[in-house]
Point group: C2
């Protein structure tokens, strides 16, 4: 937790805290400007000052009213989060414009998520967290098991000084915080996880049964290679902090996308079916499904409904061409006509074999192309 | 789903969508101004136009730079959400300044959560959802059971036209979307829920065993009274959409607050203990604990750590005086010294009997009062 203090320096900044009068109020943005533009002259001295630093690397802001306002919003997101905004086209080695990089010790971690203050800061808290979590007892094991949305590894080691643990920890640092690493030093916990000494198991998201990594004792390279070979899971959840990263990781120009609201009975039911299919097909390297819970992206719901011509108040699964956003969706009458796992699997196999392909109707869908211009009805109020 | 279209009118508004070139991009704010100030002359005609409307009711904005900027941020949150901002001191019946009200059909629902675009829009989606969800099959029942964070009711009825169902639905509309209402018309599901015809069961958050509402057949008044008598649960989770509402609902000027990160093994372990204690004490009307997952409020973590002088990287439970924010926290060495459920219960009972009371040391803590001024270290970058 050695980073806490440093981060605090960035974050603590609130206005209107007249404590005695108002009691336990919740702080609001103080309106202070803490934007700092990095350039070739100052960036070394600035970067030397902080243990954790966030750099927002962007292209020259256009002069149109829209791009000015857009930049203003992005800047505000960083200001509300209390983080300095560092912008420069001069930093070498950072190729992608409009990206955010987090500098911590010798690592540079790219942030490819939503540009919102809370999402970014939550991600930074993950970054400064320990890369390996230790499982000490049965309740913590239950916590480990309940964590199904992330890709995770767990190993059983003698103690923190054992060489295999050091290799495991070094690997963890490579993938942290995107992949979760757990370790136990307890033989009782190891037994419940079916781990022998120095074994490491790999869990895909949403899949209960792990895969034992072969070739123990592992080198760091072994572990890194194994993870990289398996980094695109059968089923993964789009989250605000990784949305752009996942969006860009298409399979041959397509995404299989499932929309399901976990808190809704229909959505939950569909997710159960989806997880079953994913579990049965976890060995198929071509199958990769993105699950989106519309609840987590309320501002994008109308956009997705319009673009894909679907109703997100009930679950949907479809295949989307990332170039032109053409898409085909599985017919499901809401409520009573949920597919069985076998039906869903058949449909997915048809997608993989291009029997179902959003490009098939490209020649005769001139009308549909109007969607691509995306004209919308806006409600503007103005006196 | 009849509201979808109306909401879409408000929400669909994005800039920079050059679809063909960029493929499936994620839309960003278009910079358009859709603020509308309601006044005594125009508000009737504006309100007549929309089925769902959001009114932001605020006091005159102060002239200081801070309050101007604060207002700007609040306005921007509503603009990004695509909702019109309506402001007026002239609306009658809406007493609380700086509040947001959602008008839908004949109902006015107060929004007492974080003023962030996505949180507000997610809440509005909940508002336009059906007030009663129907459980049709075993998978949907599993979804119902997995929903533990909300207060919920479930009833078994003959069909949608039966009088007891109509009463249940009318009650649901009163509490929607804050309390979740479920119904089943299936005898098989009813059997698994141990419900006889026209029975209604009430579930506190995080407590598996329900309470059967007595006095069937119920009138709407019976149900409303029962819910109002039980609306403050033994354990409830602070969420962005209800944070101010819960914050203001203190018990005799105090809050018992538990911080625990669900995705962390320690946090998960502590939550298990906390839920066990809540379950054992659900009949105690004086016990009410607020669980805060720091992951959901990353921007507030440094503020809470500073105010309460605690380290939120491990679980914490304490009692807080809402007037002066004095607080007392249960001693827990992180990791290995988690309290047993019995120890935690003893501590909580001491709190309820004022054996543990943050006010006890008020006379000799002049030094601590410095915290109340809340001076902070800010890192300002400026060339």
């Amino acid at each position: 937790m050695k980073w806490n203090l440093v981060i605090s320096l960035f974050l603590l900044s609130f206005g209107q805290l007249s404590w005695g009068q108002e009691g336990m109020v919740i702080p609001e943005y103080d309106g202070k400007d803490r934007v700092h533009y990095l350039n070739v002259k100052n960036y070394k001295s600035v970067m030397r000052k902080y243990d954790v630093m966030v750099v927002y690397y962007h292209e020259h802001v256009g002069s149109s009213k829209v791009s000015q306002k857009q930049f203003e919003i992005e800047e505000l997101a960083l200001e509300v989060s209390g983080l300095g905004v560092f912008a420069s086209l001069l930093l070498t080695g950072l190729e992608e414009p409009d990206s955010i990089y987090i500098f911590i010790e010798d690592e540079v971690i790219e942030y490819d998520g939503e540009l919102a203050a809370d999402t970014l800061v939550e991600f930074i808290y993950d970054v400064i967290d320990d890369p390996v979590e230790i499982i000490d007892n049965a309740n913590e094991l239950k916590g480990f098991e309940s964590l199904e949305e992330d890709m995770k590894l767990v190993g059983y080691f003698k103690n923190v000084r054992s060489e295999p643990y050091v290799v495991f920890k070094d690997t963890a640092e490579e993938f942290h915080p995107h992949v979760k690493f757990f370790a136990t030093f307890s033989s009782k916990i190891a037994k419940r996880l079916n781990l022998d000494m120095n074994d490491v198991d790999f869990y895909e998201p949403f899949i209960d049964s792990p895969f034992s990594i072969p070739g123990k004792p592992y080198t760091e390279e072994d572990l890194v290679n194994f993870i990289e070979d398996n980094i695109r899971p059968t089923l993964r959840k789009l989250k605000p902090h990784n949305m752009y990263e996942i969006w860009e990781d298409d399979v041959d120009g397509e995404h299989i996308i499932a929309f399901a609201e976990e808190d809704d009975p229909d959505g939950f039911e569909f997710l159960e079916i989806l997880k079953e299919v994913a579990e049965d097909n976890s060995a198929n390297p071509n199958l990769s499904i993105i699950w989106i819970d519309p609840d987590q992206f309320p501002l994008l719901v109308p956009y997705w409904e319009k673009t894909f011509d679907i109703d997100l108040s009930s679950p949907q699964i479809g295949v989307v061409d990332v170039e032109d956003a053409d898409s085909i969706w599985l017919e499901m009458d809401d409520h009573d006509d949920m597919p069985t796992p076998d039906e869903l699997e058949d449909w997915l196999m048809d997608v993989l074999e291009n029997e179902i392909d959003p490009d098939h109707d490209d020649e005769d869908d001139d009308d549909d192309d109007d969607d691509n211009d995306f004209t919308v009805n806006i409600c503007i109020f103005k006196i």
